[in-house]
Amino acid sequence: MTTRLRTLATNRLLLLGGLLAIVFLGVSVAHPGYASAQNIRDLLVQCAPVVIIGCAMTLVILTGEIDVSVGSMMGLLAAGIGILSSPERLGLPAGVVVAAVVAGGILLGGVNGMLVVAGRVPSIIVTLGMMTVLRGVTEILMGGEWITDLPASVRYLGTGEPLGLPLSIWTAMAAVVATVVVARKTPLGLHIYATGGNSTAAAMARVHVGVVRVTVFAIAGLMTAVATLVSVPQQSVIESGIGVGFELLVITAVVVGGTSISGGYGGVAGTVLAALLLANIRPALLYLDLGDRATFWERAIQGAFILAAVLSDRCRWFRRADGKAVTITTGGSP
């Protein structure tokens, strides 16, 4: 029976990989510049923060939860970077800034998790509230002004290229590897799938579902901090609107990537492929030069991807309910 599940998963990856290849090669034929090293590099840089947060979001959604506060968290942590590092504000050294932002991210994510577990509030409500609160705090901290004098050491995080590749691409690759290892090779990974598959059964199998939930939210905070550190200093200005709507981009990548929105099923590989595919939509439309009207299509296409992904997820559930497909096999304790 697991083979059936595995085929489905492979199919989703094959489907995404195929679409990605078609889009990329198709546009490259029409406009050879699309396949240039520079464009591939830009696409990967653009994807990097989506992939980094997407790794953690995959774990959150696998657990059967959701975190819509990551965009606002990014905004607040970006404000933190600016206020801590700008010579006109606190002027702290880059090392201290990185440590503080990472600690801040873990703390904010942990608070999300605690509210969900201890408060027994659905995560969509908790993180929706958090989304507004964090944006408000960001606006208060920034006081309606911009920070434009980030020191070179902090700008390096966003623009530096150790060993010839931008730091954000290295970081994204590390995040993917780490998440795959956690998901596949550790008890935590098993517990995440078990909690999302059937939390009652998991609890009976002595999985600490509460601890698992808090952990995945803390990981989401950590990854958001890391993504903020390697992507925001790519720009010269820190303002209070950074990260608005970013959570949608990330959640879209996870869901289109084949992770079930109800938890228990999916993985990081799909998220990465979906993030790459989605990142191609806007530039592809721009390269194909379909005129100004084409801009209107970008969101429509993104939305269509989400709908298609969610519908295929539903179909899978119906099949399961039919009894023809499978029951979750990962529920056992290690």
Partner: protein, 339 residues
């Protein structure tokens, strides 16, 4: 004990409040011997450098006029509700003129109407509200002037009488009314430079990162691109950063609307040759002069011009008092401005 403490605290608070009320009341009824004119200047958001520089100009005008008591105050968070309650309070105090930059014309319009019913003169500045809620608007620039100034700046930066090449616009959103108005007049002005072709108008959704990516894509998809207009506050620095990181500074020119301080670094390194905005100090200065003239009766509806101190004769079109002077900040003059 607990109750006693509470009673005590309440008593203290009541006393403080009574004192404040008395102070305010005294301020209101105090007869002004030389008939001073009280002008209230309300920004959209207090604490923004843009408005702080406006208030500097307003204070200059008040000092010059001599008989003006200027109150500059507004909500620090830009909340239109708080701004409206300030207008209400000033109306109760019976000030002479209230000049409003409404962040939400609907919300503030109500308060402005009420103030007018109490006999207070109300004008708008920087942004407008419905005509019935105010007598005049002090307008920094018309959409036409802004659109033309942007295109002229780009043409001049490209460096000849008949500049040629491809240019693109990165706007805020496709539905932003202000920007769409400017784009309309930019297109009108582009006809003057037939060899400049507008190849794309892309939205950045007020997202610096997206503006950055779009600028990158535009440069790659059109290697012969000559210029980018960044016409929203975050699209401008986003586009400039993309050009700079691609090593195209000086090859692809970026221009747009921003306060000079925010773009100074790009102007210094040559990525941006011109930043377009109006003189915000003069905007505040003109507003106080207009308010003063309105209160003293030298400014009446139907006039086509009036004299505003050091700015001299200013044009009035209908109920719009025009500052009519768009500034272009370049490497040579940007250090003279601090806003």
């Amino acid at each position: 004990m607990k109750i006693l403490t509470q009673v005590l605290i309440t008593a203290i608070m009541a006393t403080v409040m009574a004192f404040t009320a008395t102070a305010v009341a005294t301020g209101a009824v105090e007869p002004s011997p030389s008939k001073r004119i009280t002008i209230c200047l309300l920004p959209k958001k207090k604490g923004l450098p843009y408005f702080t520089t406006c208030s500097k100009g307003a204070q200059q005008a008040a000092d010059e006029l001599g008989d003006v008591e200027l109150i500059y105050d507004g909500p620090t968070d830009g909340s239109p509700e708080k701004a409206a309650s300030m207008v209400d309070r000033w109306a109760l105090r019976g000030v002479d003129v209230i000049a409003v930059s409404p962040n939400d014309p609907e919300v503030l319009g109500q308060a402005m109407k009420k103030a007018r019913e109490k006999g207070i003169r109300v004008i708008t500045w920087d942004a407008d509200a419905a005509p019935a809620t105010r007598e005049f608007m002090v307008n920094q620039a018309t959409a036409r002037e802004i659109g033309h100034a942007l295109v002229d700046a780009m043409a001049k930066d490209l460096g000849s009488d008949q500049p040629e090449g491809k240019v693109a616009i990165i706007t805020a959103t496709l539905t932003a009314a202000n920007q769409n108005e400017w784009i309309k007049y930019m297109k009108e002005r582009l006809e003057k430079y037939p060899k400049l072709t507008l190849i794309a108008t892309k939205p950045s959704n007020e997202d610096q990162r997206l503006a950055f990516q779009i600028a990158q894509d535009l440069m790659k998809a059109h290697p012969d691109l000559k210029g980018i207009f960044g016409i929203s506050s975050v699209a401008f620095p986003g586009a400039a950063e993309a050009v700079k990181q691609a090593g195209n500074s000086g090859k692809v020119l970026v221009t747009g609307l921003a306060t000079p301080n925010d773009m100074k670094a790009y102007v210094k390194d040559g990525t941006v040759k011109s930043v377009v905005l109006w003189n915000t100090v003069d905007l505040g200065y003109l507003t106080v002069h207009a308010a003063h003239a309105l209160a003293t009766g030298t400014l009446k509806p139907g006039q086509t011009s009036f004299t505003a101190g050091r700015l001299g004769e200013r044009k009035i079109e209908g109920d719009q008092i025009l500052l009519g002077q768009i500034l272009v900040f370049t490497k040579d003059n940007i250090d003279q401005f601090d806003f």
